[in-house]
């Protein structure tokens, strides 16, 4: 069966002979978008984070066939080497990565996280559920679904905080 979905603003048709294909493998193997990484394939690392209709999800834990008509944003849709998004530029400035493998997931996740924060969503470390403040502890908790074994966490937090402040 064919499914049609919008990826990074572009309408794409994905021929699917096998419903077992995850959204992650569809992106990487069928749609030539290998920027989204596979770290664990079980939703345990966040390397495959993409946005589904504006919300960050693990692309490994959903089937491509379930996304007829959906809008997907991957790392390739956020910026290019010639036109970086503010977060992408901040990750470079703050050295928010080393090996770079978790980085697309971190950046997509952080992009969506800032949107969640702007909507007023609380987190597990929010003292006040109704009015969370984006301090470092909040950023750390909200980004804990993205593991980084090079352990650039402090730099990731710096990059996100700076971007949040400059956007705000």
């Amino acid at each position: 069966m064919d499914i049609t979905l919008t990826i990074n603003g572009e309408r794409r048709t994905l021929p699917l002979e096998d419903p077992r294909v995850t959204l992650l493998d569809a992106l990487r193997q069928h749609l030539d978008l290998p920027g989204t990484k596979k770290g664990c394939d079980h939703g345990q690392c966040g390397a495959c984070t993409v946005m589904l209709n504006g919300r960050r999800i693990n692309a490994c834990l959903t089937l491509a066939v379930m996304h007829q008509g959906d809008e997907i944003t991957t790392i390739e849709g956020l910026g290019t080497p010639e036109a970086l998004s503010p977060l992408q530029a901040a990750f470079i400035r703050h050295d928010g990565f080393q090996c770079g493998y978790c980085t697309p997931g971190q950046i997509v996740s952080a992009t969506a996280m800032l949107a969640e924060f702007r909507e007023g969503w609380p987190s597990n470390v929010s003292n006040d559920l109704s009015a969370p403040r984006l301090d470092d502890e909040e950023i750390r908790e909200r980004m804990s679904g993205n593991l980084c074994r090079c352990s650039c966490y402090p730099n990731i937090v710096d990059a996100i905080r700076e971007t949040a402040e400059s956007v705000a």
Partner: protein, 323 residues
Amino acid sequence: MRPFTYTRAEDAAAALAAGGRFIAGGTNLLDLMKLQVETPDALVDINHVGLDAIAPEGEGLLVGALVRNADLAADPRVRRDWPLLSRAILAGASAQIRNRATTGGNLLQRTRCPYFYDLDTPCNKRQPGSGCSAQGGFNRTLAILGASEACIATFPGDMPVALAALDAEIRIDGPNGARTLPAAGFHRLPGDTPERDTNLEPGELITSVALPAPTGGRQIYRKVRDRRSFAFALVSVAADVVMDGGTIRQARVALGGVAARPWMLPEAQALLDGQPPSAALFGRFADRLLAGAKGHGENDFKIPLARRTVIAVLTEATGGDAA
């Protein structure tokens, strides 16, 4: 992952008629299917059947089964009146998973017992009659309460622990019509049928979860785990405590991470009613709640951990100093 047929249901009736395993968020089901712990022949995608609204119902709130965890936790009404539910959801998994996982699906999350996940080893929950490898094995995360010879698995989730403490009701539709189950009675203890996690019958669909009127009590969810975030509970405590001046009018307390279901004991809660808070009272309550608790070696620590955490949470909920 075994091959399966895929059907997208456009409404609940079509989903019920389709015959097959329902998939919503898929965050646990696909994880298990990739490992062939779950091998459904047919998947019925229920993401488009509706059931995704949060609406007032009397003084309570009716939460559709397809409401995503993240939306439920962020709902202003939930944050204001049932903060325990927000807190429990936010303590679970990662933001990415909460954006996809659903209210109904979270109730149906399966155990994280490592032997359930390991097809090479016996597991009565996965393969009835094959044995339990967790006893005598790595059982750090497993049950101290309500376990059986057959199985010591725990229910790993957070949200359902809060739902139990909040006295929520699970609404179900199915081939034999609609019915309801209390959240505290939704999951089953293993007994000699550990393969059945819940009291949901084959073919039934969770349609919604109903929250009763808020108690106005002090609500706390405390989750204790091996990593500060993105880890399953070793022990969690959900508490909703209503004070009346200097005494406890009503307290509902559920434990997570210690049994195959959120662990509540009405007769233990009765100990608290009408009493002034004190360390001794909370100690008696915890002892009653944990009566019969049994460790399996590696998880022995959960008994004192649960006791201490319960006492700390009740102390905090009644306005005392947790220390």
